[in-house]
Homo-oligomer: 219 residues x 4
Amino acid sequence: MSRKQELRAEETKQSILAAATQLFGERGYDTVTMREIAKQAGCSHTTIYIYFHDKEALLHLLSMPPLDQLKQQLTDILHTAQQSAEQKWKAICKEMVRFCFMNKTMYPIFFNVRAVRVDEQEPELPINKLRNELFALLTRALQQCLQIDSNDERLLAFSRICYYTMHGIIGTYTHSEESAEQLLERLSTTFDTAFETLLLGFRQKLHQGDNHHENHTTV
Amino acid sequence: MSRKQELRAEETKQSILAAATQLFGERGYDTVTMREIAKQAGCSHTTIYIYFHDKEALLHLLSMPPLDQLKQQLTDILHTAQQSAEQKWKAICKEMVRFCFMNKTMYPIFFNVRAVRVDEQEPELPINKLRNELFALLTRALQQCLQIDSNDERLLAFSRICYYTMHGIIGTYTHSEESAEQLLERLSTTFDTAFETLLLGFRQKLHQGDNHHENHTTV
Amino acid sequence: MSRKQELRAEETKQSILAAATQLFGERGYDTVTMREIAKQAGCSHTTIYIYFHDKEALLHLLSMPPLDQLKQQLTDILHTAQQSAEQKWKAICKEMVRFCFMNKTMYPIFFNVRAVRVDEQEPELPINKLRNELFALLTRALQQCLQIDSNDERLLAFSRICYYTMHGIIGTYTHSEESAEQLLERLSTTFDTAFETLLLGFRQKLHQGDNHHENHTTV
Amino acid sequence: MSRKQELRAEETKQSILAAATQLFGERGYDTVTMREIAKQAGCSHTTIYIYFHDKEALLHLLSMPPLDQLKQQLTDILHTAQQSAEQKWKAICKEMVRFCFMNKTMYPIFFNVRAVRVDEQEPELPINKLRNELFALLTRALQQCLQIDSNDERLLAFSRICYYTMHGIIGTYTHSEESAEQLLERLSTTFDTAFETLLLGFRQKLHQGDNHHENHTTV
DNA sequence: GATGAATGAGCGTTCATTCAT
DNA sequence: AATGAATGAACGCTCATTCAT
């Protein structure tokens, strides 16, 4: 009696999640309507409200599990003994790109593009906590890699620059029709180059700063 | 009679364009309504449809002049005798950011984020031509700056990386409530750092490549 | 087996009635949803439809017991030996107000304000019978209090006037957010005054009528 | 050109107002939908939004002109030299009843039955100002009629009681299918009796109070 | 007997667009 | 050329109700 129904319910819920994931991923959060999701999921639009409180909740629930998983992965990378700090940072950057390509809905959540307020307004929201933790991870990896003090203001600037580049990479291809695999295949060396470039640049910047200092002090 | 009318018509059309430019620029494409544009232009919202087929057509037409102007500016920068190639490239990058901050509509157009399909579908579209020319300019500036062959495949990768970073910068702040001026005031040194970092990185990359080559040939 | 089931069924039905009584009483008919009732009753919302044809039928059925109880109370008051007719009438009026405050659903039922059609359309409806009996009680109490003939047309007018005032009192506060207790605490002396005023007025009216008569006959 | 259109627009607006007046009057504010109003008015539901900002605005606009008129009438009554204070007060009460019968939408506005927040929340709202002025007029008339101090707390209680009775009278018949004329024809003597009764009662109450005082002071 | 799943009708509102003049 | 009037489709969401088990 209940077994079959439970199964059916889970199926419906999953089909809604699948539909929403796909549509949000393809066309972004706010251009997709509940009715479209329902149609794609093969149910009535009211059915969605049985499983999810509202459109935004759907998006959030959609995102939590993969984000949790991502956090675990990034933490694992950071704590691996076998790799250098540089390798770790690059691995983390690449993993974030890969992850966002695989979960195209993540773009508006990570980079809170309009209409999805995942930001300061409710930092208590689990998803915001997670988001912040992820970016903190990224900053820490960069700090260890550059071996600068975590209060050094240059770390903030460098973090931002990483963020911009990642945002750009992901934003550029989020609405692409190519699959994650195709994109990674075609462009991963470019992405590698991007992160390496940044790192090289950051290091030189730091040296410049030192030299400047030296120059200043010597003169 | 017809003379006067023509003039009047042109005036109306221009006032619509001006209004749309301003509003789209300030608040982006889809939060602005036709009625708001009409109000600002001092005409009825139906009048807009006399001159422009629909909202999207209006956007495209309206985007041309500022893009033309931008193109002119960038071209001017590129052809100035007084500056080094590096200075030119940085100036171009900064100008593009500034321009996109001032014209918030440009974000979806430049980086063709969904909803406004300005892309492959109709590469003949004047606006797409212009867009491509602009990015070509960027690439050329970078090429001259790095002094590598325009067919060097590394140039394509580096161009893309610049594009990502610019996309990220602009995308991060396009939906911000801060004005263009505030943003530039607050963050322009970070943006400078970003572009300098990229350049430093690119150069080192090129050297690495050379060394690799050397190593390869020696061994 | 059937015995147990019957019992269980009756239990469920009663818990639904109890829940609906409370919720309707607290918040009125149309702000309460079937799901809320079900939740409070500890059953599924579909279960309600097993016992009651629809929301309105539930309301009607649910209104019977308290109305029956009210009728009993008012009858008791009317038949008490210890009180004067005036005390009885006032007690009845106050009890009706108190009752309607405690059972906010009663307002639309007693005074058949739209949405719940309990009126002439089906005078056979048990609830309408009861309603009419209650108002008949009120009239009888007033008659005994004023000691006029039950066919005296002035009794009808006076009854109506009482009805208006009670309707006004209850209607004024039914949608208030104050609890029944708070309202009674704050306003019961005003209500007392209202009923006393009416009674004083009625009596004087009767005297006036007599005097008129006297005058008429004397002159 | 514009003449005909203006006329047509005014017609539409009036038909919307007429439809809304009738429907609100018949079935109350919140059970009536915009689409129903539109249907009755013979236009699309979106057309309503051309002329009225939203549903509540429609109700308010519907009410202002008649309320203004009523205020004028009541003021006139109060300032007539030829009548006694008692005549004036009774005339005012009767006029309010008559007015509400003629404008059945007024019921929820005057007596702010659920969902129409015409109350404390925004006392600045023109309609609320007007409403308060009207009730102030009523109180003043009563005060002059009873010749008691305007700060006498009994005046407040008496005013409330009048309010209840008027609320009751109007509430009882607002949803009636009888026309205003029919109702007044059939019941105006009852209403007269009601107000006379109240007045007689109030006066006696005041005397009682005096006697009490006397008793208190003498003893 | 009882339930969770699912639905359709409907809500107020917005907006780009078309029609008649 | 230009406009005000008018519309239909759509939005997110709620609710009483029915269906299959």
